[in-house]
Structures are given as C-alpha cells and as structure tokens.
Amino acid sequence: MRRDRAPGDSAAQEPAPDAVPAVDSRLLVREEGIRGYLGEFRRKLRSGELGSLPVVVAVIIIWTVFGSLDSTFLSAQNLSDLSQQIVGTGMIAVGIVFVLLLGEIDLSVGSVSGLCAAIFAVLNVLNGMNQWLALLVALVGGAAVGLIQGFFFAKVGVPAFVVTLAGNLAWNGLMLQVLGTSGTVNIPSESIVSKLYSTIFHSPAAAYVTAAVGVGLFLAASLLDARRRRTARVPYRPVAEIVLRTVVIAAIAFVTAYILNQYQGLPLALLIFLIVLVILDFVLRRTTYGRRIFAVGGNIEGARRAGISVPFVRMSVFSICGFMAAVGGIFLAGQIQSASQTSGGGNLLMNVIAAAVIGGTSLFGGRGSVWSALLGALVIGSIQSGMNIMGVSNAVQFMITGSVLLAAVVVDSLSRRSQKAAGRA
C-alpha cells in the first residue's frame, strides 16, 4: 500500500547525515504532488497493478445501467436494502479471501453456512437452548468444520480443492440430518439471529457518528504513522496526500450515511460487517499472523525456511474461513428468518467466490485484501437487485452472474500477466 517518496516539505529534504542514497540512478522516481499521483496511477495501470479499480468501474457501470433502466434501483430504499443484503454473502466472501491469499480454494462454504444456520435453528428453536449459547455453538461449529478440512489439507496433504469438494457434499448431508424430518425451521422475528439482520438504528445521528468515527480514526492513524516515520527518517506520506485520501473516504462515508438516513437509518448488519472488515484488515496487514498468511501465499518454501509453521497457518486460515461461513450463514438465516434444506445451496457458493475474486483478490495467492469482499459483494448484490427489479428470470441471472465471475477471473489473469511483463509479479 505505502509508496516511498521523497519527503515533501523543505525541512526534511536535507538528507540524514549518514544516509547513503540507496537508489539506483535508473529508477524512475515519482514526481511531487498531483502530477506525481497521476503519473504513478498511469504507470500502475500499464503494468497491470489494477487493484480495486476494475471493481469500482464495474459498480459505477452497473449502477448507471440499472439506474437509467429503472429509477427505483437508485432509490434510498433499494440501496439501503442492498447494504443489508450483501452482508451474508460478504461475510462468507471474507473467509474466501483468507483462503485465496494462501492460493487455495474452499468449495464447502455454502454447505457450512447452511449447516451452521441449521445448528442454531434446531438448538434454539426446536430444543429451546439459550439463543446466545446456540449462536456460539453454531459459530464454533463452523470454525471446527474449517479446522477439520484444514487438517486434511495441511497435515494429510490432500489438495484443498478435493477436501472441500467432499466437504461440500458431506456438510450438506449433515445439515439435512440435523434438520431431520422438520425440513424447515422458522426463526421467530424476536430471535437474536433475526434481529442481527433486521435491526436498524433509526436515529440519523447513528449513521453520521459512525461515518465520523471511521473517518476520524483513519485520519488519526495516518497522521500518527506519518509523524513516527518522519522522526525515524524513513519516507512518509506528506500531509497533503493524507488530507486528500481522508477527503475521499469522508465523502464516501458521509454520502453512504446520508442515503441510509434518507430511508430508515444505519442497519446493524452493515455496521457489524464494516467492523469485521476493519478488524480482519488490521489482522492481515498489521500483525505477524497476517504477514505469515501472505508469506505462505507468496512462497511456501520461503515461508518454511523463515521458520513459519506452514501447517499451522493453513489450518488456522481454513478455520477462519469456516467461522466466517458460519457468520454469513447466520446472517442469511436472519434475512429469510428460517433455516431450511435449501440453506447455503443454489448459487451461494458461486456468488461468494465471485465476490472475493471480483473485489480484486487474486486466485493465484498472496495478493488481495478483505475489502474486496465488500466491493465484490456489492457488485454481485447490485446485479441481483437490479435484475430482480427488472423482473429478469433466474435462468438469465445465473448466466449473467457466471459471466461476471469469468470476466473477473480474466481480468485477474490478464493483470497478472502484464504484471509479470512489467516485473511486478
């Protein structure tokens, strides 16, 4: 994320006394200010470091197309609903992002999400277990399922694709077993699971305060980091750049808050999703554990030689993926207020993998971010919402979603190829 550049203000431009410029004279150095920003942007585009640009463009196109076809698509109500609907898919996609970072795939997340929803419904609704305890059992169950699959992958050496494909069927069978003869278990609307999905903070202040806190934290963290870097005499982001980035983030945050307030307010599900994203982003980019995930995804042998326990990283990542599948399953169950034999089936698996890849996480491992789950889920959710409004049949929806996934993978493959050509992969 962070780019090296010469310090911006004149005070810091004097080189440190003992600093030997460790820079090759042939290196293209970024220019200062906005021009430098644009130049860097162009260079990245050419060399295939697309990042989240394709997905942002995709969202804009999708919204423009559906908005012009039917004005209800861009209404506050539809966008608010959309922000809730993407949470279930998005949560599962976050787990997929972790697995993709290792360069692996988990094909069982759909079944696992359905299984965990069924576990909660049967324990709480049919057997009267305390709802918090039932929720805990369901989530731990998801993590355990992931751990089992991770064990067969990391310790036994079965390819992850096969383990999770087998799991996809087996966990689906277990779900049917758990549901038993009842088939469908309705979850009452006062249940914690329903409330997790349907609660909305009606006060306009809630959305604005959330936006303000998020932007404030980002600004404070950026400024603190820049100050530490400056005192340590390493390249840092100039204040102008920090302000620019903060303004962009603030604009997105407050416009979102405004739109949500136009309808009913800030949905709890969206708030939880954002908090989960911030926490897991922190884990991936700022902790030793996250660094190890990237290392294993980049070069297994290199990670092993550096003393990293590759089996531990693999098993824990599959466990996280199972856990996130359970979380997503709970939100999906809350959305339809039931757990049934079709939970976690249909095109859910395709959608979550598509969301993670469309968002910009590479299928080839080592490159990606949890935010791609949000962006990708937004693309998938927008397409489905738009097509539902237009009354497009399921048959066509499947074909379009499939095409979008293929397009995302093509972009990923092509950008990897041009990154290689430009010496960045």
């Binding site: 003992d18 980091d225 390493v234 660094r291 990293i308 960045r424």
Partner: protein, 259 residues
C-alpha cells in the same frame, strides 16, 4: 591464522543408502575469511553444506563452534549458533516487499503490532552499510533484478547477526554486472568480520574473492589452496582429480603447436 576457527569440521561422513556422499571431510572457517568450496557435480558440496546448516545431520564426525564441539540436528540449531545459509533458490516471497522479506519470521513488533517503521529503518541501515542498491525497500521483491534479489537474500541472512554465512552458488544465474554486485557484497561480509563459505562453479569468481579454496572430489577433501599461492589450473586439476586432465592436455598440446 593465529586465532581459532569459528567453525571447524573434522572427519564428517554422511551416507545416503548405498552412496557415501561424504567421507572424512574437514573444513575450517575463520572470522573475516572467505572459504570457497569447489568441486565437480556430485562431489559432496551440497551434502557438506547441509550438514553444517542442520538440514542433513552428519553420521560421523565433529563440528566445532568457536573451539567447542556442538551438535547441529535441525536448521534451527545452526541459526541459533550463528550460521546463516542462503540457498540457491533464495526462497524469497515475491509478493512481499523488501522489508517484509528481510524480517520474515522475525518481525519486530510494538504492542503486538508489526513495527513497520523500525523494520524499515533497520532495513535501510543494513542495506546502506552493505552498500546494497535497491530502488526502494517498499517495492515487491518480484520487481527486483536477479542480482538485487540475491543481495536481498544475503542481507536477510544477516538480520540475525550470524558469524558464518554460507552462500550456495550465489552467482550461478547472474549477468556480469550483477555478479560484480554480489562479489562486492561478499567482500563486504569479509570486511565486517564474518566467515563466509562460498560454493561456486565459477573459477573466476572464486579466484576473485576467496582467501582459501577447499576442493572436494568424490565426497572427500582433495586439497586446500591459498589464493595467493595457487593457480586456476592447479585447482581445476584438483577438482578433476588428475593433473592429467583434458584441460592440461589441451594446454600442453597448444604449447607444442606454438613451438
């Protein structure tokens, strides 16, 4: 050299099934000395290195570290003693930046969080003291040249303050300019008082930087040479195991023809 060797190998033997890969192998490495380990393919260079690095512990023989006998059974033991190994495949993570690679597996932390600032600071210091020229410590290793990647891999081995560094064919895949960069770095390791074991096929490189040359042949020592009092021909004949080798024959024939 008057002071005792940092690392001494005495009578090291290693068998793989029916193959005696190493037999009564001796080696000494002093501080501030570059020892080149040369030999034909299959002469046992890699086996010797792996027994030092703890990858394949030897069957017999004594390894002494600063004068006392030690046992190196795992790569970890070697690292703890202060032996760093840079393998031919480098094992860098292409997707991580230079700082991430340098500190991989021993990240600096502050309050449980990665201390990127201090790691970046120390990376720059380390690269500067070794005069390693890298465009930026924050670009992915994938975008570095082969020589730069090699220097990053060597720099990484120095993060744990080792006393002996083993370089496995560091110049094998490099061009002229990049080879020069790496050889410069090897000389700087010597200036910093590290003992270096350099495995190489390239006699020019070996004669350029090594102080002593240990020749291996068929799993055994086949002579130690001091760089100042030997010639490439002498070493090559030790490698091939005969003064009467193809090279010397050709040379003899040429001399005949000239006459």
């Amino acid at each position: 050299m008057p002071e005792p060797a940092v690392l001494t190998l005495r009578g090291i033997s290693k068998r793989f099934g029916a193959v005696q890969a190493l037999k009564d192998f001796d080696l000494e490495v002093h501080a501030g000395e570059v020892v080149a380990l040369v030999g034909d393919n299959g002469a046992g260079k890699s086996t010797a290195v792996k027994s030092i690095a703890g990858v394949n512990p030897p069957d017999e023989g004594v390894i002494e570290w600063e004068g006392r006998a030690v046992s190196i059974n795992r790569p970890h033991d070697a690292q703890n003693l202060g032996i760093a190994t840079v393998y031919q495949d480098l094992a860098l993570c292409d997707n991580l930046d230079v700082v991430g690679n340098l500190f991989l597996g021993r990240e600096l932390r502050r309050l449980g969080v990665l201390d990127e600032v201090r790691m970046e600071q120390r990376s720059r210091e380390l690269l500067n003291t070794l005069s390693i020229r890298i465009p930026s410590v924050r670009i992915p290793v994938a975008s570095l040249s082969g020589g730069q990647r090699q220097t990053v891999a060597i720099a990484r081995s120095l993060i744990g303050d080792p006393k002996v560094v083993i370089l496995d064919e560091p110049t094998a895949a490099l061009g002229v300019e990049q080879t020069a960069e790496v050889l410069d770095l090897v000389e700087r390791l010597r200036e910093h008082g590290l003992g270096t074991i350099l495995i190489s096929h390239n006699m020019v490189d070996v004669m350029a930087v090594a102080d002593r040359i240990a020749v291996m042949r068929l799993g055994r020592n086949n002579g130690f040479f001091d760089k100042r009092s030997t010639t490439t021909e002498e070493i090559i004949s030790a490698i091939t195991g005969a003064t009467d080798s193809a090279v010397t024959r050709r040379q003899a024939r040429k001399r005949e023809e000239e006459r």
